[in-house]
């Protein structure tokens, strides 16, 4: 059936973090109007944080997001430490790296197995996977093996996979116990073959939507989620403290979230951007076992964000295994004290969904002002723009199928609406 005139509304896109909807108006075979609205209600963190003592800032800002809370935690610690001139120790950096690896394994695991894999297998939900089917049975068990490994790594080094209690400004409140490290190693080894299978599944997946866009991610001397400069596929390298000057804040009147443009255009952040820009820096064992899948990058296929996430799961397992096989002791260190009580600090890290920016202005160890830019806000304009193409490319299908294609496409970005609606710029035009 060819649909040349219709209105379609997807009220609540399922299997994503938070609430987003989409309305489209098609006339004479063209999308006349399309609105993607991120519709979670705001909690006004950037207002609430003003005047608060810095010691409580990381744990409060972690509450912006449930799934990537540890990314907000580490990014706000980074911004506070830069503002008050604390240089974290080598061990602190290593533990933060392991917490981040745990986050990536667990968060990508949730997205790939629970949100996106049903699309690949033609099921509505992981609850419908057929255990008598060999592949579905295997992937169902892999789901919990991989997620459990990431969860355990986060527990061992952060105390919990959500709102981790151990990390603090200047160091940690508690340090990993030997038995927790051994348990992490055991689960990571068990998860590795599952991660290799996951790469294969998403490498074989034929979903395609090509986007000529700019990819933006942190880039360092190694495959690093916490340090580096901001690199763009168009060639720029920007020090992280200057990132905000290159982002153009864009008010989207019908969305509860802020959108951003990079140098005036839509752009994409996330695993696809990271692999496109830094695939040569992946762990050698990951390169060996994801070899053919890696040949697809650099890629302009938005659905390869899923494959890029799967490769990152494998990389984070490989890197964590190497780090923990070579180091079993993490002796307690006293948290480092601040050299100053005033300053402006910019923290930029790679959250699971992409570039995360926290800027804090601090005076007398209290917050004067805060600005936060999250990955989903940065991807919002790209998502909406490309949805026009998704709808127009599926006009020969029934409405229900078009709705499914829309949801499947949005899921490929792995949006997190809780993050995106944490605050809003106040000025409406």
């Amino acid at each position: 059936m060819h649909n040349s005139n219709f209105d379609l509304s997807v009220e609540e896109i399922s299997k994503i973090e938070g609430t987003a909807g989409m309305q489209v108006k098609v006339r004479e075979g063209k999308v006349e109007d399309l609105k993607l609205s991120l519709s979670d209600y705001k909690r006004f963190y950037t207002q609430a944080i003003r005047g608060k003592p810095i010691s409580g800032v990381p744990q409060l800002l972690a509450r912006i997001c449930g799934t990537c809370s540890n990314a907000h935690l580490l990014c706000s610690i980074q911004s506070v430490e830069k503002a008050i001139a604390i240089l974290p120790s080598k061990q602190t950096k290593l533990i933060r790296r392991l917490i981040t690896n745990g986050l990536m394994i667990r968060d990508h695991g949730l997205h790939l197995y629970v949100f996106s894999l049903p699309d690949v297998l033609g099921r509505d939900s992981i609850l419908e996977f057929d255990e008598s089917n060999e592949l579905e049975h295997q992937l169902l068990h892999d789901t919990f093996t991989v997620k459990a490994a990431g969860n355990q790594l986060s527990i061992a080094f952060g105390g919990r996979s959500v709102h981790a209690p151990y990390p603090m400004i200047g160091g940690f409140t508690q340090f990993p116990q030997r038995e927790e490290i051994e348990k992490s190693l055991k689960l990571l080894r068990k998860a590795r073959p599952a991660a290799v299978r996951l790469v294969q599944v998403f490498s074989d997946c034929q979903f395609e939507f090509l986007d000529e866009t700019t990819f933006v991610a942190l880039k360092a001397g190694d495959y690093n989620f916490l340090e580096g400069d901001v690199a763009a596929s168009s060639g720029e390298m920007i020090p992280e403290s200057q990132l905000r000057e290159h982002l153009e804040h864009t008010v989207i009147p019908y969305s509860q979230a802020s959108g951003y443009k990079f140098k005036g255009s839509a752009y994409m952040v996330g695993a696809l951007a990271r692999i496109n820009l830094s695939k040569d820096l992946l762990h050698p064992n990951t390169k060996r076992d994801a070899g053919q899948a890696l040949e697809k990058f650099p890629s302009k296929n938005v659905f390869h964000n899923n494959l890029a996430q799967a490769i990152e799961v494998l990389h984070c397992i490989d890197e964590s295994l190497e780090l923990l096989e070579n180091r079993k002791e993490f002796p307690p260190e006293a948290p480092l004290a601040a050299a100053q009580s005033d300053g402006i600090g910019v923290g930029v890290i790679e959250a699971p969904r992409g570039l995360l920016y926290h800027r804090l202005e601090i005076k007398d160890r209290k917050v004067v002002s805060a600005e936060i830019a999250v990955p989903t806000g940065q991807n919002q304009i790209s998502m909406e723009k490309n949805l026009v193409g998704v709808v127009e490319g599926n006009l020969d299908k029934e409405k229900e199928q078009i709705s499914f294609e829309i949801e499947k496409f949005v899921r490929a970005y792995d949006p997190c609406i809780s993050c995106a609606t944490h605050f809003l710029k106040i000025k409406w035009t």
Binding site: D40, Y41, F44, D124, L127, K147, S161, V162, P253, I426
Partner: protein
């Protein structure tokens, strides 16, 4: 009643329905941290839950959801608007029990932090509240509907959640008391 052959099949279907707890999982204004903790509990409990739970509504797990008669609604998040309050009342009206999940549902906070803003900050955010029809105050769940049980924590305390879930499974006759004891519940 019904014909014999058909009757056997229908009886099995009814028994199949009767042996599962009909639940929904809903999120309002929050960071959905308890949803994440729930999906992490699935690492150890998925196959047991698949046997015992009929998950009728969980947007985080599936697209095809039914808001019909529920035994238990698990609700996380605070209530930011009249539209959310109406949706919560609808959920309450089709659920025999309603459990508040996590700090925002149980206490309102931190989602309710705007309730404590000074006048200047309130004036600053007012255009947003007006544009998207926010309520004047963010409410915890029991300020809108009766709540039967609570699982506090930010994120929710998973031990308490498992305890409440097993209480519900026992109360609705899904599992006998002895099986409840055999499940992985702290303190049993």
């Amino acid at each position: 009643m019904w014909k014999k052959a058909e009757g056997i099949r229908m009886t099995e279907e009814i028994q199949d329905l009767q042996k599962k707890l009909r639940i929904g999982w809903f999120s309002f204004t929050c960071c959905e941290d308890s949803t994440i903790m729930m999906t992490e509990l699935m690492n150890d409990h998925f196959f047991e839950w698949k046997r015992l739970l009929d998950i009728r509504h969980a947007k985080v797990l599936k697209t095809k959801n039914n808001l019909d008669s529920l035994d238990v609604a698990f609700v996380e998040g605070a209530i930011s608007s009249d539209a959310q309050a109406e949706k919560l009342k609808k959920i309450r009206s089709v659920s025999k029990k309603l459990v508040a999940i996590g700090s925002c549902a149980v206490t309102g906070f931190p989602s309710a932090q705007r309730n404590l803003f000074d006048q200047a900050t309130k004036a600053e955010i007012q255009p947003i509240l007006d544009r998207f029809r926010y309520a004047d105050k963010v409410l915890k769940l029991d300020e809108v509907v009766p709540v039967d049980a609570v699982v506090p924590g930010c994120p929710m305390d998973t031990d308490i959640f498992l305890e409440v879930l097993n209480q519900m499974l026992t109360e609705f006759g899904i599992i006998p008391f002895r099986e409840r004891n055999s499940l992985d519940v702290p303190g049993t």
